[in-house]
């Protein structure tokens, strides 16, 4: 009776958690934008695929604007507008946004700022909105009470300074002058691929900010730009500014189309292919494929049903769903690789994406070896859940896991980025999958499952299965104990994780030896990877000694996963070490 009650509690709290999470995401969705005839009718397509130079990269303007606007609004679109429109509107009509809540403030200082807002006479309704969403109007930034509060928070270097800096950075990113300075869309007329591009500011000068027209005196000029090109793009620009401010969609669309054509013509040899720019815009328009977690979730449901009720059809559906999800996942990574021109595992966003990709790939391989056994479906299920959780993190924590494509840090630009990093993140995915299967085991035991364990766990159980008619049969025997199967499957994954984690550590040491001049420097990231490994050594030896092997294996697999996550999340974000970039 008691046991059944406990099982109910566990199951219900899981359901409650999922419901609460879904509600929270719904509750914190972006404020809906007012319908705007101009925004709806202006044709931004040519602008989206304009090439622009950002630090060390040529990207599509769409991708660029997305990154810049994320700095302003954090997880929200600026004023609910799509980034390309918001970028132009902030640049050309800055006054419009002074009183709109668009600047994102991190939670840690919201309460302090709310107090200062009250002093500045902001309505309590607006303050409540701010505390919830974190969005603040730029006009409020300069209120004396707010300035005093910023100053106070800034002085505390350890606790609050970085949050104020984050907000000031958002303010700076919304500044019209800055946006105009960063608008580097003019390729150097006689330049090579190392020559910086020019911002429109350089040609049109600051004058346009006041009345929308080029004042010849203000312009610095662009060396090598011939007069007709200059006249063309200046004319297009002036027209765009004029029509944009007049909210004339057809005029603005025409100006945009013409500007895009004229910019391409300045130095065609430097201009990237339209297809590639288009692809980059499309990639971001598809939200970097982070929504694929839904497909993983849809695949996980029938897979779970197969595991619980052994419905063969569910396995087939699940397998197909997983294949679709994995295909999209692969496409996402492939596109990112092509667009960035480098292997996509150089920042946190990419590392997570690649990690679970390796996890799912590994699951397909393992399922092949386990295809005739009762382990079937377990690896699919574990990897689907891991991939789903990872990609949910990407979708719901966009300020932490930034999807922007940047160049790889110079110190990472090495062959070992391919080897060490992939080996480590693969092991992390395996640790995650093992923990999922271990949790299934714990749930099974909680529900009164029998404590018998696989005598030989892991790959050994697959290899020795049915070696002799009198040997272990639980993997193929229809009436085989679920506990034994789950235990053996956990070990299959853990053994792989054990080897890959150790190998990854060794490879990291080899890389560190020639990159930083020492193989091991007790850097926190190194230490916690070793700590994760220590948990698994403990697991292997505890398994030898204890009677209830399955229970302890499952518990330690979960602990190992917790240490791995601590390393990946807390060490990365709270403790800076040499490994602070990934």
């Amino acid at each position: 009776m008691n046991r059944k009650f406990a099982v109910r509690i566990v199951d219900l709290s899981l359901v409650a958690f999922v419901a609460w999470f879904a509600w929270k995401q719904y509750d914190q969705r972006a404020p809906s934008a007012e319908p705007d005839a101009f925004a709806a009718n202006v044709e931004l397509e040519p602008l989206r695929n304009l090439a622009i130079q950002d630090v060390g990269r040529i990207k599509s303007f769409d991708s660029f604007a997305r990154g810049k606007m994320k700095m302003v609004g954090g997880p929200y679109n600026v004023d609910g507008k799509e980034p390309v429109f918001a970028y132009l509107d902030l640049m050309l009509n800055p006054g419009k946004y002074q009183d709109k809540a668009i600047i994102y403030v991190k939670r840690a200082i919201r309460d302090d700022l709310a107090r200062a807002m009250r002093e500045s006479g902001v309505s309590s309704e607006a303050i409540a909105k701010f505390v919830k969403s974190g969005l603040m109007a730029p006009g409020l930034y300069w209120a004396p009470a707010m300035q005093a509060e910023f100053k106070r928070l800034e002085q505390d270097i350890i606790r609050t300074q970085k949050f104020v800096n984050f907000m000031s950075w958002a303010m700076a990113s919304a500044d019209a002058h800055r946006l105009s300075n960063d608008f580097a869309v003019i390729p150097a007329p006689n330049g090579n691929d190392k020559t910086p591009w020019f911002a429109g500011e350089q040609l049109w000068g600051l004058g346009f900010m006041q009345d929308g027209h080029n004042h010849g005196n203000d312009t610095v000029g662009i060396p090598g730009l011939d007069d007709s090109s200059k006249a063309n793009i200046t004319g297009d620009w002036n027209k765009l500014v004029e029509t944009w401010r007049a909210q004339d969609p057809s005029g603005a669309s025409a100006a945009i189309a013409s500007l895009a054509e004229h910019l391409k013509a300045i130095n065609p040899s430097l201009y990237p292919e339209t297809e590639k720019l288009n692809l980059e815009s499309t990639y971001f328009k598809l939200k970097a494929f982070v929504w694929v977690w839904v497909v993983y979730a849809l695949a996980a449901i029938p897979l779970g049903m197969f595991i619980a009720y052994r419905i063969e059809g569910a396995l087939l559906v699940g397998k197909i769903g997983l294949l679709v999800a994995f295909g999209l996942h692969t496409l996402a990574i492939g596109l990112r690789w092509y667009i960035s021109g480098r292997i996509p595992n150089a920042n946190m966003f990419e590392a997570i994406l690649a990690s679970v990709w390796f996890g799912v790939l590994g699951a397909f391989v393992l399922e092949f070896f386990a295809r005739k056994t009762n382990m079937r479906g377990l690896f699919y299920f574990g990897s689907a859940i891991c991939a789903m959780v990872a990609m949910m993190c990407q979708q719901f924590m966009p300020t932490v896991l930034k999807s922007d494509i940047d160049n790889v840090m110079p110190v990472l630009d090495d062959m070992w980025l391919y080897i060490h990093t992939n080996m480590i993140i693969w092991s992390y995915a395996l640790i995650g999958i093992a923990a999922i299967i271990a949790l299934l085991y714990l749930r099974y035991r909680l529900g009164g499952g029998d404590p018998s364990t696989a005598r030989v766990g892991g790959a050994g159980s697959l290899i020795l299965e049915g070696s002799t008619p009198k040997g272990d049969r639980f993997l193929v025997d229809e009436k085989g104990s679920t506990g034994k199967v789950l235990d053996a499957a956990t070990m299959v994954i853990l053994e792989l994780a054990f080897v890959t984690l150790w190998a990854g550590l060794v490879m990291g040491a080899i890389w560190a030896d020639h990159s930083w001049g020492r193989p091991w420097g007790w850097d926190p990231k190194e230490v916690f990877a070793l700590c994760t490994f220590v948990i698994f050594i403990i697991l292997v030896h505890v398994r030898i000694k204890v009677r209830d092997k399955g229970l302890w294996t499952a518990i330690l697999a979960v602990v190992g996963c917790a240490v791995m996550l601590f390393n990946w999340i807390v060490i990365n974000f709270k403790i800076t070490g040499l490994h602070s970039y990934a």
């Binding site: 630090v55 060390g56 110079p410 190998a503």
Partner: protein, 780 residues
């Protein structure tokens, strides 16, 4: 009951018990749990949210190892960790030997365990011998040869560096005006390449010009005349002064500096070589003071522990100029921004001090004024002066000096006039202020320039008035300062002559504002602009001074005494990235009847002199402390890190930056691909061929390992090399690889062998069954 002799009851054998304990797997598991806990806390410390109810709020990280003054490397070389590792390794060896038979099936476990033992032994050797440090190598110096000067002078190429040389023709001055690391070559065979260009501002006794020099291309050196462009255009010659030779030479580095170490460097003033005294056991993180009044605190709620240290710093070299004077380090501050003098109002001697604040018109400043020591507060005395009056008569007298006075005298006619000069009534072409007649003479005058504080070099500023005198026969342009002996007449372009005795000009700069107090320090008079504008001031009340500026007297005391102490910055205001770069140590020296005690600031490198100091780089800060020994020798001291000699001098041939599309964007490493240093070692009397180090591609030369660690983003004037050894690294690698193979063997090969054996045995059984009806049981 029967008396029995207990027999066969084993007696307790402690050695046996320890042996059993050490060969128990549980003991090993326990050790691993302890190692896990130790490593976690030693590395990350303890993390917790500031407020339990607000997990999204800021988190606090308690770095436990710092409370024990251990660096990351030290906390993992500390005895508790070594003890745990020792017991763990011992356990592993004993268990393997005693409990695991070396069979084909157990080969994997044996490999893993022996691999880890080899790794541990390799690590003992590696960490025991590890040397890790860094060395900055400047790119070039410029050798300056001036005609008539004896040896060529060396000037390091770094921004703002200067050199002064005296030759047979007079004084020369040289300054690095700019460095352009990627100057495009526009002509000749090298067109399209870039080189590092250095512009030197040259002042010879006869002319001023810029000499542009390109590293690696001496043939392209040429002079540029300011405002006119390349010399070759106007004079037909590339060099304006052929006799002046400037050429690039290497600036080799001969030593490197050990990470996290500490040393005191001493030398006699005038010497170039530092003599090192290592400081062993200096704390890395703590503030160590003997008494609360050793420091000033920055926050009122700042707490500080009294935790004194006393580290003897012994002499290790015979040429140590301190000889046998005992040196102790008796204090350490982890984060101090410098010394500050604060004023105690209850001193014994008369020393009137007033604190005033100015604001308005973009000004917001506080000054301390000292009546008896006018220059002390760093205030320009032509702006504001403070006088201490014994009586009322003195008050008026001091007040009368308010405002400047220019006295002009025509000697022949013995006529003089006196007036005050304002910047507004000086000569100005637009305002057309013309000559003014001096009555009773045939002379007239006009004030051409008035400068309240004109820089005359070496950081000195003086007030200057330029007056033109005109008579029907001639005119005289007189430069007058507050010091009458410095008056001179301008005789044409930049040529001066002693003053013409026909006219005299005396300038008394006075002050814009005169404050007079005394004998009661609260009884204050303020004179603004002239002796006639006299007001009474009340402490704490704001006064309007004109042109939008307001003044408030904050404090006024008659007897203040100075106390100078280092500032100790509160922990929460410290920038964690600064590490120990703001640290200070207190050095005390004693011998008979003599003692010396001073706080010395940290130096990242014991630089030879100020020419190596790079502006705005904390690592290249240079501020030695001077001290007079009892025998009258003057010495310099500097607190820095311990050094090791490189086996050879190392010069930087070239530093190259590889960039992504669009070139280097300042402050953003995402625009950089790679940093490349080309180095040349000096051995056997000559410069050897180049060795190259870049990111992820270190160079090895004569047992030392060089990797690219730092760089100078502004000017690329130097490279920062990481230097280290790596003894034992291959033993470590061997251990880890054996363990990898062991793991693969245990998990994947062992079951296959087992399966084959089981099947073989089963086949035997089956065969036996077929051949004989009654088979003997065979156990598997």
């Amino acid at each position: 009951m029967q008396d029995t002799i207990t027999s066969a009851r084993p007696s307790f054998n402690p050695f046996r018990a320890i042996y059993d304990l050490i060969s128990s797997i549980w003991f090993g598991i326990f050790m691993m749990v302890l190692l896990f806990i130790y490593m976690s806390i030693a590395s990350a410390g303890i993390l917790y949210p500031l407020s339990i109810t607000d997990p999204y709020g800021p988190w606090i990280r308690w770095i436990v190892r710092e409370d024990f003054n251990k660096t990351e490397m030290e906390v993992f070389a500390w005895w508790p960790f070594n003890l745990l590792m020792g017991l763990f390794t011992l356990n592993m060896i004993v268990v393997t030997l005693r409990r695991i038979r070396l069979t084909v099936l157990n080969l994997g476990v044996w490999m893993i365990h022996s691999g880890i033992v080899i790794l541990t032994l390799g690590s003992v050797y590696y960490f025991g011998n590890k040397l890790e440090g860094d060395a900055p190598v400047f790119r070039r110096s410029i050798a300056i040869k001036v005609p008539g000067a004896e040896d060529p002078r060396r000037m390091i190429v770094r921004p703002e560096n200067r050199a002064f040389v005296t030759g047979e023709r007079g004084e020369y001055s040289f300054a690095i005006a700019s460095i352009n690391p990627s100057w495009p070559l526009l002509s000749g065979d090298d067109k399209g390449k870039t080189a590092c260009s250095v512009n030197v501002a040259v002042q010879t006794p006869s002319q001023n010009f810029i000499r542009q020099m390109l590293i690696g291309y001496p043939q392209y050196t040429e002079d540029i005349i300011p405002g006119k462009g390349r010399a070759v255009k106007s004079t037909g010659k590339k060099l304006l002064d052929d006799e002046l030779e400037l050429s690039f030479i290497y600036e080799p580095q001969t030593e490197y500096y050990i990470k996290d170490s500490a040393a005191l460097y001493v030398r006699e003033v005038g010497d170039t070589q530092w003599v090192e005294r290592p400081i062993e056991g200096l704390p890395h993180y703590s503030d160590n003071i003997a008494q609360r009044k050793d420091v000033w605190l920055t926050r009122s709620d700042q707490s500080i522990d009294i935790d004194p240290i006393d580290i003897v710093v012994p002499k290790i070299k015979d040429n140590d100029p301190l000889g046998d004077i005992g040196v102790h380090v008796t204090g350490r501050l982890h984060y101090s921004t410098g010394n500050e003098t604060r004023w105690n109002p209850n001193g014994n001697q008369l020393n009137p001090m007033m604190k005033v604040a100015f604001d308005g018109n973009g000004v917001n400043q506080e000054f301390s004024l000292f009546a008896l020591n006018p220059r002390f507060g760093g205030v320009d005395p032509s702006m504001i002066t403070y006088h201490w009056a014994q009586n009322e008569a003195q008050r008026t007298e001091f007040g009368a000096s308010t405002g400047n006075q220019l006295t002009l005298r025509i000697v022949e006619a013995d006529k003089s006039i006196r007036f005050s000069v304002e910047p507004e009534n000086t000569f100005d072409r637009n305002k057309n202020i013309g000559f003014v007649e001096i009555e009773g003479t045939d002379w007239s005058y006009r004030v051409k320039t008035f400068h309240r504080s004109f820089p005359i070099g070496e950081g000195q500023n003086v007030p200057i008035v330029v007056v033109e005198f005109k008579s029907p026969e001639r005119s005289i342009t007189r430069w007058v300062t507050d010091d009458p002996t410095r008056a001179q007449d301008l005789m044409g372009a930049q040529k001066f002559a002693p003053p013409d005795p026909a006219v005299e000009a005396v300038f008394n700069p006075g002050a814009l504002i005169t404050l007079v107090a005394g004998p009661d320090p609260k009884d204050i008079d303020v004179f603004v602009g002239s002796p006639d504008d006299r007001r009474e001031a009340v402490i704490g009340e704001m006064m309007t001074m004109g042109s939008g500026i307001r003044m408030t007297i904050l404090e006024s005391h008659s007897r203040v005494s100075a106390e100078t102490r280092p500032i100790l910055v509160a922990k929460r205001d410290r920038n964690p990235k600064a590490e120990n770069k703001f640290s200070r140590i207190k050095v005390e020296m004693t011998s008979d009847q003599w003692s010396f005690s001073r706080w010395l600031p940290y130096h990242h490198y014991p630089l030879v002199n100020e020419h190596y100091s790079v502006p705005d780089r904390l690592e290249f800060h240079y501020q030695p402390t001077r001290c007079m020994l009892p025998d009258g020798t003057e010495i310099e001291m500097l607190y820095s890190r311990s050094r090791q000699s490189l086996p050879y001098a190392l010069a930087l041939e070239d530093f190259e930056l590889k960039v992504h599309t669009g070139g280097f964007v300042s402050g953003n490493t995402a625009s950089v691909r790679d940093f490349i240093s080309r180095l040349r070692p000096f051995e056997e009397g000559e410069w050897q061929s180049e060795i190259t180090t870049s990111l992820n591609d270190p160079a090895t030369y004569a047992d030392l390992y060089y990797f690219q660690a730092e760089w100078d983003p502004g000017n690329m004037a130097f490279t920062g090399l990481g230097v280290g050894n790596r003894d034992g690294v291959y033993i470590q690698l061997l251990g880890t690889c054996i363990a990898v193979f062991g793991m693969i063997y245990v998990f994947y090969i062992k079951p296959i062998i087992k399966r084959r054996r089981q099947q073989a045995v089963w086949a035997q059984v089956e065969n036996a069954k077929q051949s004989t009806t009654s088979s003997e049981p065979i156990t598997v």
